[in-house]
């Protein structure tokens, strides 16, 4: 399971979500890069070279860190970092 500390309060701020997301995806990165330089537009698989099989593991980590449930339909829409932020926000708002 994720080593990232669980979010204990409601966050809706994009940059706070991005910070947590960076921590979550860090071990999965297939390229050497400084996460500070992440813009959000990067594709998880093509740009960050994350093994596509690991997308489900990232989702499991996101669910446990943000205490949300991500619907299976959302998985195919999670192409970029920004897509992920949108999906997380949508679930937090629920």
């Amino acid at each position: 399971m994720s080593n990232v500390e669980k979010v204990e309060r409601l966050i809706t701020n994009d940059s706070e979500i991005l910070d947590k997301l960076k921590e979550i995806i860090k071990p999965y990165l297939g390229v050497k890069m400084e996460l500070e330089n992440l813009t959000g537009d990067e594709s998880l698989v093509e740009d960050l070279r994350i093994n596509s099989a690991h997308i489900v593991d990232i989702i499991i980590d996101i669910e446990s860190v943000f205490d949300i449930l991500i619907e299976d339909e959302s998985i195919n829409q999670m192409n970029s970092v920004n897509d992920s932020i949108e999906i997380i926000k949508k679930q937090i708002d629920h």
Partner: protein
Amino acid sequence: MSRRVVITGLGVVSPNGVGVDQFEKALKSGKSGVRHNAHLEELNFACQISAIPEVSDELKAQYFNPLFLKFIENTAIIFGGIAGIDAWTDAQLTPREEPDWDSGVIYGCGSMAMDEFISEKLQMVNEGKTRHLGSRVIEQTMNSGTSAFLGGYLGLGNLIGSNSSACSTGTEAVYQGFERIRRGKANLMLCGSCESHGAYNWAAFDSMRILCRDSNDQPEKGSRPMSKDAVGFVPGTGAGALVLEELEQAKRRGVKIYAEILGGEVNSGGQRSGGTMTAPSPEGVKRCIATALKDSNIGVNDIDGICGHLTSTMADPLEIKNWSEALNRKGKDFPYINALKSMIGHCLGAAGSIELAATALQLHNSYFHGSLNTGELHPEIEKYAHRSKIPEQCINFDGEIIAKASFGFGDINACLMLKKWRD
């Protein structure tokens, strides 16, 4: 097409020594890897001792990246991976950028999914939380988990697979790799075996009353192959790996050669003529040894030593009788024989490959390790093998050929003949 096959790399994760250097020191000094196991005691096992390699997190970090270690908890893959990488490095090989189509992996396991890591995963399934399992459980439950890891890590493009044949798994893996190179289907095969660790794997053996249950307060005395007091085997775990290479390629590369594999055989007694699911048919065993001799183009008197299967059960006397009858040699004419399980218990699927690594080391460095705790020999053993042929301590050994055999549930047998390499 028949080509010669040699051993050019070794890797060992053994309960009495991790890494070839530590393992060899342990073989020479007769170091036991058997210790008390508090977990088995807590679970009411009759046998509360076991033999487990000591692998620290620091050591793991030298072999595996953080992403691997985040998910991979199955000790069979961790031990198997370390032994496999060590053997590869020992043979002066490195991971490939492009697939190496002529090199493959056969890495067996007795029971991959029974490792204790599975407990938490099964609980998630039982609680209806299947979706939380994630992407890295399959590779830890498929029996080919270790071969798949090593094949990918090293970039190998020949056969990448796993065999499973109970306690003969390790010897069978090496036999299969040997055959593949001999027949020209590969030039190099990384062969070995590993075993999953812990209570789930060992519980049913405990229930069968075939584990040692009288030595909980003196663990190092528990494993006593060939002794008249042998009452059961000590469960163990670990991994062994051997790089097998076609002779001409090994010579071209100019690498160290430990030993040559002359030939071998695998067979079954068919669970007839005294053979059952759990007991070997003497006819099957003797036929396996005889066929391995023929396959190696050697005679019964060419055998200088035997690395036995010898588990510290009531099957030991029968094994000695079978060797004696297969080789038509007894008393002082019986070859030297030793039992590594006296030091490291019975590592089940991992046993054969660890014992083959020990065999190669002994031939290469001219010694024959002793067997611990033989004490007073079983009277049925003394009828066939003279006491002097079962050394209690390590001896100098100028023999040329050691026979190694493993036997397993299902009445199955595997035998290989290894010869000292002289440049």
